[in-house]
Every structure is written in structure tokens, then in C-alpha cells.
Symmetry: C2
Subunit: 204 residues, 2 copies
């Protein structure tokens, strides 16, 4: 009897992952910062107690879901490693825009409020760092010049904000043109950012 129960049970890791994946689906509808253990319990068909067993606080659950969001985003924007860099970049921008437009309320909540919690803020930073590292890998660079890192971080914020505002204004421009525009901005500005010089010391 004990064995039969065990076999019907998911292992702890699998159960945890199931709950996180449910949270990931839910934040397409529920703004991220309002995601609760109740929502996840209902979606999976388990007790709220079980959710709290894996995630003692709502914030623990949100941190785990945000981490999964980061993983999915980074996986999705690195669509086809065999494509040439320019094509990888286009596919990446397209996937980034798609990722945001599928859950705009949650993406907005994350971008505008992750900093109010230390752990959420850390995951948010990891996401931006992850995108920078991805570009580094695509370029096959051992290290990126500081100007390029600064430019890249700025460009990621631009993609997020432009896409969120595009959704907020009810998509008043053509999606393909938006993606091409964001891509063109990268192709123009990133080489310029790369070439920025270090601080000039006063001559003495």
C-alpha cells in the first residue's frame, strides 16, 4: 500500500518542477507579483499545503518562477546556434519580443518591481547578465569591451521598454517592422559602443 502510494507520487524534483511550470504558465494571465500558492495549487490540482511544502512563502514561489522565466527566455532567444551571427541575432530579437508580448503584465511587473526584493532583484540581474553572455558566446569573444557591455545592457532595456510600450499602445506598428527596427538599432549602436574609449586622465 505504501509502495503503491509512492509510485503514484511524483519525485520531489519532478513535483517542484511541475509547480514551477504551472506558475510559468499562469503568469501569462496573472501579473507576476500577484501569483499566489493558491493559483498554482488550483492549476495543478493539489493542496495549497503541498505548494507551501515546496515553497514556504509566496516570495519563494515567485523567485523560483522568475528563475524558470529567465531560463526559458535565455533558451528561447538562443534559437539556432548553427545560424550565422546576424541571423541568430534576428531570431533572438524576434523571440525576445515574442516572450514579452506573451506575458506583458508579468514582464512589466518584473521589470518595474523586481528591485523591491533582494532575491528577485538578483534573478533580474542574472537575466540581463545572461543575455550579455549569450551575445559574447555568439561573437566568440573571450571578453567584451566595457563600452559594449554598457551598450548591450542599454539595448536590452530598450527592447523591453519599446516592446512593453508597443503592447500597451495596442500594437500600433507592424510587428515585423518593430523587430527589424530593434535589430537595426543593435547593428548600428553596438559597434559604436564597442569603440568607446576609457576615461581620459587629466594631463599632468
Amino acid at each position: 500500500m505504501a509502495q503503491a502510494t509512492t509510485s503514484r507520487r511524483l519525485g520531489a524534483e519532478a513535483r517542484r518542477e511541475q509547480l514551477v511550470q504551472a506558475g510559468l504558465s499562469l503568469i501569462a494571465e496573472v501579473p507576476f507579483d500577484q501569483l499566489s500558492a493558491d493559483d498554482v495549487a488550483r492549476a495543478v490540482g493539489v493542496s495549497k499545503g503541498l505548494v507551501f511544502h515546496y515553497f514556504p512563502t509566496t516570495r519563494d514561489l515567485q523567485v523560483a518562477v522568475l528563475r524558470a522565466t529567465t531560463r526559458e527566455l535565455l533558451g528561447r532567444i538562443d534559437v539556432d546556434p548553427s545560424a550565422i551571427p546576424a541571423e541568430r541575432l534576428r531570431l533572438g530579437v524576434d523571440a525576445f519580443v515574442g516572450f514579452i508580448e506573451q506575458r506583458p503584465a508579468s514582464y512589466l511587473a518584473i521589470a518595474r518591481s523586481a528591485g523591491s526584493d533582494r532575491r528577485l532583484g538578483e534573478v533580474f540581474e542574472e537575466t540581463r547578465d545572461g543575455v550579455v553572455e549569450l551575445v559574447q558566446r555568439v561573437l566568440g569573444a573571450a571578453e567584451l569591451p566595457p563600452g559594449l557591455i554598457i551598450g548591450l545592457r542599454g539595448w536590452i532595456a530598450l527592447v523591453e521598454e519599446s516592446t512593453l510600450h508597443w503592447v500597451a499602445l495596442d500594437r500600433p506598428v507592424d510587428r515585423t517592422e518593430l523587430v527589424t527596427f530593434l535589430l537595426d538599432v543593435a547593428l548600428t549602436m553596438l559597434p559604436q559602443a564597442s569603440a568607446l574609449s576609457g576615461p581620459r586622465r587629466p594631463r599632468g
Copy 2:
């Protein structure tokens, strides 16, 4: 006696403004979301009770300080209305970068956590809208095309994020070059953003 006391007292509006201005100075050192009535009371040399008289909660105080921050930012980036548009834009970008680098911890706290509070989030949105309106006035345009609004919002986020990351990395590129770079990005991308077309309807 009562009269003498009254004459030494600031009027309610002036006192309120004094407290807000003290908060505005303090957030150069204290991260915005940690600003307290205690800090302001100490800086002005009044009781904490007086601060709470004007701002019943710490959040009320923070909202008022954020509103003052917005007013100062919008005033500072519109440096010289008599300059030609290109020069106004350069002065504006330089002032924007300067504004952020004088209080990076607070600017970061605002950008990353204002969304966790409805009122702070509204003031944050008003700031971005204010920058868009300023550009509209500089261009003398009655209305901006939607692509330009989307591009402008994105560019503001880029300036913020690039500058914050430049400060976080201990200013590894020359400040003048950074300002010129951010300006060049605007001059290249905003005309492109203006020209973005509306959504294409499927032919039928």
C-alpha cells in the same frame, strides 16, 4: 507670544517644500526606497512628528520626493529653450546622465522598484511621459507618430540603463564619449522609429 511663535513658523506649503527638498538631497546618499521620516527630520532639524504631520506615512513622503525628483529632472533636461533642437538634445542628454550619476543608488531603486507601489509607479510613468512630451515640444509637433513614441520610450530606458551600468562598472568609458554615443543613438534611431508603419491587415 502666540504671534511670535507663528512668525517663526514656516507656512504649511513652505514647510512641506522644505521637507521634500531635504528628501531630494538625501536620496543622493540614501537609496530612495530606504528614505525615512527620521532621515528627513534629522536633516531639517525638526521632530519626526512634524514630518509625519505633513506625510502620514513613509510612502507618502517617498511619493512626494519622487514627484519632486521628476520635476527637477524635467526642469534640468530642458536646459536652454533658446538653443537649436540638436543642441537642446545634447544638453538634455548630458543633464540626464548627470542627474542619474548624482544619485545612482536612488535612481536604480526607483527604476527597479517603483512598480511595486501603485502611486510610485504612476509618478514613474509620468516621468517617462514628461520626457516624451518635452521632445514633442522641442520638435514643435502636435502629435508624435506611434513608432516615435515607442522608440523614445525605449531610448529613455536605454539612457537610464546604460548610465546606471556605466556607474556600476566604475565609469570605464569616457563620460563625454558616453553622452555623444547616447545622442548619436537617438539621432539614428528616432527618425527610423518615426517611419514605422501601422500593422498590416491580412488581404481578403
